[in-house]
Symmetry: C2
Subunit: 291 residues, 2 copies
DNA sequence: ACTAATGATCGGTATTACCGATTGATCGGA
DNA sequence: TCCGATCAATCGGTAATACCGATCATTAGT
């Protein structure tokens, strides 16, 4: 049994005339006759009652017709869902992102879902390491992070934009009004920083070590939003990329001088792997947004 | 797109291993690979994500899988319903019968539905002419009647049993206790007969004419059951086949002598037409019942 | 009785499903 | 780090079959 035969059968059952059905299907009458016969042989049951030059559906044919139609319909629906996917009318986009890029991500999500409201967007926040692991097993479509993945055999990265690390303080904080701040001054500020393991934190620790300074870290958190909320109380400052604080009007970013603190935000894909349409489109929107 | 390809795709999606799937499907790995590729080409969309020696479903593949499964399921269900039909687990049996055979019909229906409770039986009572018309356009599966259809090019008949016409009287009626009655004696009885057009009535009229007798016909009815109920009042007698009165204990049948009044009950099919299984089985049950 | 219409059948051709062998790549273990 | 095992893709050849045109048999309508 093949869909081709079902198609021939259904059309024949509708027209109850093999010759017309054959023309309608752009095949010869003999082919149609043979294919119907083949289907009947396989089912070991007559589907049509040939009486004279007329054909009628047998009881079996009538019963079978429903299922044949449905089978064709389902196959067609499958084809259609693929077309919808091409047009981004369905599907789920799974994004992995580090907290530092949540601001950028949020605005892109808003724009994306406006254009493609039927695509579900699932965001997975986590550390770069965790996210790359998930990317490896295709649990997510791509990763937005500041980390450049080392293994270029498995991953494929593209730099989105540069974002300098800077001091982030609430407007009420004494340092908020400063034009700039030297890296060594960080020692005199109460800091709330991302927990160890966070890429930015590890990067910072490296910087601190190299500059032989040891700032006061009162609080460390594994949630950037909570961190920023703490900063908004005015009790602490933090150090993050400028992009991290975008959208929060009551926070000020103060450039840190005395050392190069540029971080490269990048998008990372699984190398040589199929990229779903929604992912490609979304990444293009991100690039446009930052470019 | 063919069911074969969908079958290959589904199994491959389940095992996520082309080699195993190919073995499972009893085809070569190369064939499987080609067929999957062909399906992907038609959909213009990758269904599998080939990464290294692994295959994963793409988002499109995942979406398509549901429909592919359903399409296969429907085709299979169609096949199953045909099998059920062969085993008489579904379907409708449409029987045309003249009233005279209702008693026989009833008992066979009881037996049939006991064996095949899932087959619906629809009985169409009417005159032989009406029923044969319906048989011609396949509205019913066969006709049970006393009439032998003249057109043997269209119809195909088989005699089920002989049933003599006899006088039917209520136990309280004076004639009920007679052992036999001569055809000429009918003139002295008040008769209730089937309406003109009914086969038995037309046959009787012919007999009356040939014997030059004119019995008193007080009542004529186009409903045999009503006719028998009238007879049960004791006011009238009627003339029907013995089979017609079977099952009614308060009626007596009195053989009519002096003329041959044998009627042949027959089953009539549409010639050279497909006979549904239920119809064949039912007719065999009738033959067994009368044999 | 004749004619047009219809489905089945037959022989031949083009397509294609299928296979085995091979290649290229990857993975896991020694 | 190398080697063998594993896996999917590809190629060339073969067998199966979908398809066609021609023809035949039957039938419905004139």
């Amino acid at each position: 049994m093949e869909l081709r035969q079902l198609k021939y059968f259904v059309r024949s059952a509708e027209l109850l005339n093999f010759t017309e059905a054959a023309n309608d299907l752009f095949i010869s009458q003999s082919t149609l006759s043979q294919q119907i016969k083949q289907l009947e042989d396989e089912l070991d049951m007559l589907l049509f009652d040939r009486v004279g030059k007329r054909v009628r559906l047998t009881e079996a044919g009538n019963l079978f017709l429903t299922y044949a139609r449905q089978s064709l319909q389902d196959a067609n629906d499958g084809k259609q869902i693929i077309e919808d996917l091409k047009g981004l009318k369905v599907g789920t986009l799974k994004i992995g992102a580090t907290y530092g890029l949540s601001a950028l991500l949020n605005s892109t999500i808003v724009a994306f879902t406006k254009l493609y409201p039927q695509v579900r967007v699932a965001v997975d926040f986590g550390t770069s390491e965790d996210l790359l692991e998930k990317l490896k097993i295709a649990e997510i479509d791509f990763v937005l992070s500041f980390l450049q993945p080392p293994d270029t055999n498995v991953f494929e990265s593209e730099i989105l934009f540069d974002s300098k690390l800077s001091l982030i303080a609430h407007t009420s904080h004494p340092f908020a009004s400063k034009k700039k701040i030297d890296v060594k001054e960080l020692q005199h500020i109460n800091l709330a920083l991302p927990a160890k393991g966070f890429n930015t934190r590890d990067f910072l620790e490296d910087v601190f070590a190299k500059n032989k300074i040891s700032p006061t870290v009162n609080v460390e958190l594994n949630d950037i939003n909570m961190l920023l909320q703490l900063v908004e109380t005015g009790n602490w400052c933090t150090v993050l990329t400028i992009a991290s604080a975008s959208g929060r009007t009551n926070l000020r970013t103060v450039p840190i001088t005395g050392i190069e603190l540029t971080r490269e935000a990048s998008i990372t894909w699984l190398k040589d792997s199929y990229r779903k349409k929604a992912a490609t489109v979304f990444s293009e929107m991100i690039k446009k947004q930052v470019g």
